[in-house]
Amino acid sequence: MPTLTPNEIEARAADWLAQRDSGHWGASDVTALDAWLAADTRHRVAFLRLQASWAQSDRLQALGAGWSHAGPPPRGYWHAAPADRRAQMLLALRPARASHRPTPRSRGQRLVRAIAMAGCCALLLSWSWRNYTHVDVATYRTAIGEVRTQSLLDGSQATMASNSRIDVRLARTQRDVSLVRGETIFAVAKDPQRPFAVAVGGYRAVAVGTRFSVRRDRDDLRVVVTEGTVRLDAPHTDGQTSPSSLLPAGSVALVHDGSVLVRSMALSEAKQLLDWRDGWLVFRDTPLQDAVAEFNRYNTRQLRIADADVAHLRIGGSFRWDNQDAFVRLLEAGFPVRASTHAGEIVLRSR
């Protein structure tokens, strides 16, 4: 084999990758590619390099999450402020005006045609406007102690934790969910034309087709991504474009006091944060006051901590959230804690 220039090697590597991507790819192609890669390390490194950057490009999907028109957005779209983006989107949705030259006709003929056309247009417009602007609105709530999986009209699933409320608006170009309180896991039905956004206090978690949960504690927000990628848009303040963070699977984003903290953890660990769905609360070296707050989200009978010593005990383990009694008994058995029941609440104090 004659030695190829770097350029030729790279072109050949790209051809291999593009062919493999095309679906026309058989066993003999695999063998031929392997032979080519083994022939020269320069072949292999060029191949790896293109493969890696091509794999990166699937994150274009995250960029496309706000774009609902077929085909790519115009150049410079992502460098524009969100308001300009909306204008660009509307511009793209407008059909291109065909240039035409009227043929000379009698005035009457033209008038009749024009009236007929106007009538047709009005009919068509009102019909398509109704379709175009049709929005399904629904509100779903769970009571304290209730965990429920709700199917949304677009095929997505929302698994709602205890004492949660979501407002859902499904429009033609956009699926908007507002998490009013509590926590919900979303398994989003894939629809690149209609991004799925969950809004909490000005923040928006935007997904294309993925699985993630959003939780709200007053103004604090937690997003856990267990599949796919979610883009978290911060609220935009006057004159400033909003910064976005990209959250791949295994990310946990915490929003507190207007700042965003992103942690990436093992997927299994991130999934544990969502174990409430199956009836479990999982704690790992968690201060008792946090664990108690967690239990209280799920039970009408509240636990109350009476002193700081108890509050700062650290506990770990998996507990059924519907079995508060077992949790309290375990605390009494394993820690210097005494529990007593007063007027519908369980008070925990140190012994």
Binding site: S53, L60, W78, H79, Q240
Partner: protein
């Protein structure tokens, strides 16, 4: 090392420094048209070395290999270059913080990707979008655009090369509104 872990190591530990490597080569090699060749050669050397032994400091090894390669080439060339070559010592590159962030995620990488994507020629940009974002197969892309499958495959191959180059070309084209960077910096991030 076996092939698959070695490939993975190469992608995550070596390729992530491509922008810095290119800057280093451009700074010290007087013939810009040879930089691509140098880059490929350095990559091949590093890959072969890693196949034989575990490299504990991949980044340092990458830049040392680049320096050795340049020295070798200089010795072999009959013509002595009169252009100032500077110091090959890569130590100043190593202290300079070059984040592999663009490959590994983060908000910055999305901006890079957007800039890289925007630099593709029209048809190529359209094909890449349909294939990667709307997730049509090459066949479906061909049907949608009314072009042959072979042409789609060619656009994909071209897109791959252009995206790879754009992603490693160093700083992306600065967006006209500078406030994006400013606003993003207001938010602390942690790994």
């Amino acid at each position: 090392m076996h092939q698959a872990p070695l490939d993975h190591w190469f992608v995550t530990q070596i390729l992530t420094h491509e922008a810095a490597l290119l800057r280093y080569l451009h700074r010290h090699w007087p013939h810009p048209d040879e930089v691509l060749d140098l880059r490929q050669e350095v990559y091949a050397r590093v890959y072969e070395a890693a196949a034989k032994a575990t490299l504990t400091q991949p980044k340092a090894f990458l830049f040392t290999s680049a320096r050795h390669l340049m020295t070798d080439r200089l010795r072999r060339s009959k013509v002595v270059s009169i252009e100032p070559m500077g110091d090959f010592d890569p130590s100043h590159v190593l202290v300079e913080e070059v984040s592999p962030e663009r490959w590994c995620g983060g908000r910055q990488s999305l901006k890079w990707l957007a800039a890289a994507f925007d630099q593709l020629p029209d048809r190529c940009r359209e094909v890449v979008w349909l294939r990667r974002v709307e997730e049509l197969s090459q066949k479906e892309v061909a049907k949608r655009l009314g072009i042959s499958e072979k042409t789609v495959e060619k656009h994909i191959a071209k897109g791959m090369r252009l995206l790879a180059d754009a992603l490693s070309a160093g700083d992306p084209v600065r967006p006209p509104t500078a406030s994006i960077a400013g606003a993003a910096d207001a938010h602390p991030y942690a790994e």
